[in-house]
């Protein structure tokens, strides 16, 4: 038979069958999709799926073979629902045409299970009160699941009105020096992989965003005047890319979130004013004179805490034993931050100071902090261990200074193995803390297995087991 046009896909999927001169379509079927073949909408004359034939058989005559009264919803509609569901034909060559045999349908299995039958019977025996109680219990459990465990939880936590997670973006400086200044070895790759995975899990849990930026030495920064000052540019780009973000959290690659169960909101931002200190005299390793005393400045600029309001905090960072530390810090989206990010790199300052500024942005920020009142008024400090704990080896070999060093009992939030590339083992430290984090955050079941069963087993048999 000639065709008026070339065949095209039909909306339900598959291709229209064009060999109309063959009356038996079930034998010569060019369709590729099983969906259209078994669709109940298919109403070609030669093609009668067994369930519609069955409906005709039972209802068309007007003598239903079973009662339609006093039946529950599922009993009434099971047939219709089940027949509209897609299914897979396991036995293509012998389709069940013709008479329906009882107990052959795909759902009949369900009725045969004794358990299901018992539950159904039990449900209908319950009183109305018990039923409604069970119903509400079910609703509560379902909402608990939806709010806390289902994939929807991610979206609740992101949305501005529930969790507010979309207000936070983590910027992770990855690929440091990747392949330009020195080769990345297996250890560097492993650190990168672990660090990125750690942050990815963290943001997935709380609905934040993660921006992984490339810190490779680029030609545009390789100019003598601007080596590795990408941080500022990356933060600016991130603020542009995530217009809903309020806080950008910069993290160096050598960091790990040790406690993924802490959200930034509860850990820091819900009552920010209580967590920060704005008077640098509280801990002042740089020995800066604070506050300013110049007579031409106003009282706010001369006050040690600025205006003291939570809203005026736009830069949130920590101090280590050397001064400001930019391994982990927060910048809030504001006009002030635009100015800071704009002024941070200035060619005149750089030209005079770049020989002394070997910590780059950090030194430049220190310079600005020490000379500019407008910077100080909007900067606040967090105690270092809130977002930036150090391992032993950074700021003292013993690692027991509670100001800087990771304390396991306190379950510090983030570890930053700062300076590990100088004579320390970066990968070893990252691995150690990764495993420690897993260990500390074991689930109840894991604790039961490892702390109880395995211990008892060890006592009984003298063998260590891994469960």
């Amino acid at each position: 038979m000639p065709l008026s046009r070339s065949p095209s896909p039909i909306p339900g999927g598959g291709w229209p069958s064009h060999d109309l001169d063959h009356p038996d379509h079930s034998t010569k079927d060019n369709r590729t999709s099983p969906a259209s073949r078994w669709s109940p909408a298919s109403n070609s004359p030669g093609f009668v799926p067994w369930e519609s034939a069955a409906i005709r058989k039972t209802e068309g005559k007007g003598y239903p073979s079973f009662s339609t009264q006093n039946r529950s919803f599922f009993q009434k509609h099971m047939r219709r629902i089940s027949s509209s569901l897609p299914r897979f034909n396991h036995n293509r060559h012998t389709p069940h045409f013709g008479k329906e045999k009882p107990g052959r349908g795909p759902w009949s299995v369900l009725y045969k299970l004794p358990m299901v039958g018992r539950i159904r019977a039990g449900w209908s025996r319950r009183s109305r009160r018990t039923r409604s109680f069970l119903f509400f219990l079910f609703i509560i459990l379902a909402s608990l699941y939806i709010f806390y465990h289902s994939p929807m939880a991610y979206h609740w936590r992101r949305s501005a009105s529930f969790g507010g997670g979309e207000k936070f973006v983590i910027v992770l400086g990855a690929n440091v020096e990747g392949g330009v200044m020195e080769w990345k070895g297996a250890r560097e790759w492993a650190i990168e992989r672990d660090s990125i995975r750690n942050k990815k899990r963290y943001v997935a849990r709380w609905g934040y965003d993660l921006e992984i930026v490339d810190m490779r030495t680029k030609k545009r920064y390789a100019h003598e005047w601007r080596q590795s000052w990408e941080k500022v540019d990356h933060i600016r780009k991130t603020l542009r890319k995530y217009p809903k973000a309020e806080w950008v959290w910069w993290l160096d690659l050598n960091t790990l979130v040790m406690e993924p169960s802490y959200s930034l909101q509860t850990h820091i931002f819900d009552n920010l004013a209580d967590k920060v200190y704005r008077d640098i005299n509280e801990y002042n390793p740089l020995n800066l004179t604070h506050p300013f005393t110049e007579a031409y400045l106003d009282s706010e600029a001369r006050s040690p805490v600025g205006d003291g309001k939570e809203e005026s905090i736009n830069l949130l960072l920590t101090q280590d034993c050397m001064g400001l530390n930019l391994g982990s810090f927060f910048v809030r989206r504001s006009a002030w931050s635009d100015r800071l990010l704009d002024m941070w790199w200035d060619p005149v300052a750089y030209e005079q100071k770049h020989m002394q500024w070997n910590r780059k942005e950090q030194d430049a920020l220190e310079q600005m902090y020490s000379s500019q009142p407008w910077i100080r008024q909007h900067t606040a400090f967090l105690p270092q261990r809130m977002i930036n704990s150090f391992p032993p080896g950074a700021c003292g070999e013993s690692g027991d200074d509670p100001r800087f060093h990771y304390q396991r009992e306190d379950r510090d939030f983030v570890i930053n193995t700062a300076g590990c590339e100088v004579g320390r083992d970066c990968w070893g430290e990252i691995y150690h803390y990764r495993e420690l984090s897993y260990y500390l955050n074991r689930s109840l079941w894991e604790r039961f297995k490892e702390d109880l069963v395995a211990v008892i087993w060890f006592k009984l048999t003298g063998k260590k087991v891994k469960l």
Partner: protein, 315 residues
């Protein structure tokens, strides 16, 4: 014209089915469904309203100054260099103009600020910052150098320059911010965006007469301008070149800057049509007076002294 095959009809139409409720769950009758919908709407709506009420994102962070006084005139005087008489006449000139329009004046002395052996002209930067401290409610700070007289008292500074519409009209857009620079003033700015108004002379930006609007930006700008690293860099023209550097490298400053025609607030005693003083101009300046080899400011400005005194007494 051929059309696609019509869809094939079944010759066995499906039989009528018994009527059933459209709502699948029997306990949800139509009436109940309605009330459930209403209650759900109310609950969701109240959630939404509460979440909006506690949303503090749009709260204004910084208050607007009330505008009392509207403008503060700042001048740095150097009696030792320019003589008592000259300083006195400058003082009178400013005070009379300020009195007429309800402005305030602020005079500081060149030695008032610690400048660490840098050029004395840097004093204007902390002086303006000082004015913001002393008059926290002022709307503008106008720095006018001590080599200038206000010649026309009748109109206020707002009427001449600062009304946003007027400023939007007279500001020069898309011109090189410093002669021959590739950095040009923005062309999309409106009068209301502007925080800093100044003029350009034939050499570059002129800091002899400039207006800053009080606010967070002004403090940022003035404190940055007075940065010790800028001062120690030894720009040839000290604070003027530092400012030129800033506007060319930092868009947060360039985007708040308006360059206006020079004779609006900064006519020079000599110069071509664009910069030379003409009858009826607002301000006259003897730029560069009192430098080594140049006649003193008092001498250069002497012929204007009688003119402004006359103009002020008449009006």
């Amino acid at each position: 014209m051929h059309f696609a095959y019509p869809s094939r009809k079944s010759s066995n139409p499906p039989p009528f089915r018994p009527r059933q409720s459209r709502i699948p769950i029997p306990t949800l009758r139509k009436g109940r469904l309605k009330s459930i919908a209403v209650i759900a709407t109310i609950i969701i709506g109240s959630f939404w309203i509460i979440s909006k009420l506690f949303d503090s994102r749009d709260a204004p962070l910084f208050r607007r100054p009330s505008g009392n006084p509207p403008v503060v005139l700042v001048t740095v005087l150097d009696e030792r260099k320019h003589g008592m008489g000259h300083s006195q006449s400058i003082r009178e000139n400013r005070e009379q103009y300020a009195k007429r329009h309800g402005y305030e004046t602020m005079f500081v002395h060149a030695g008032d600020y610690e400048l660490e052996e840098t050029a004395g002209s840097w004093a204007r930067t902390p002086a303006m910052r000082h004015a913001l401290t002393n008059f926290p409610e002022c709307r503008y700070v106008w720095f006018l150098d001590q080599d200038a007289y206000i010649m026309e008292p009748a109109k206020s500074l707002e009427e001449r320059l600062l009304e946003p519409d007027l400023l939007g009209k007279i500001m020069r857009r898309d011109i090189s911010v410093v002669p021959n620079s590739i950095i040009k003033t923005f062309s999309h700015l409106k009068g209301g965006d502007i925080e800093l108004v100044l003029t350009q002379d034939f050499e570059g930006l002129s800091t002899g007469s400039l207006v800053v609007r009080n606010g967070e930006w002004a403090k940022f700008f003035l404190e940055t301008w007075f940065d010790p690293l800028y001062r120690s860099y030894k720009f040839r023209k000290a604070e003027e070149h530092a400012l030129e550097h800033m506007v060319q490298w930092h868009p947060t400053i360039l985007s708040k800057l308006a360059v206006v025609p020079q004779r609006t607030i900064n006519s020079y005693i000599k110069g071509n049509e664009e910069e030379g003083f003409q009858e009826g101009d607002f301000v006259v300046r003897a730029a560069g007076c009192g430098r080594e080899g140049a006649p003193s400011c008092e001498e250069q400005l002497s012929k204007y002294r009688a003119t402004w005194q006359q103009a002020f007494s008449q009006a």
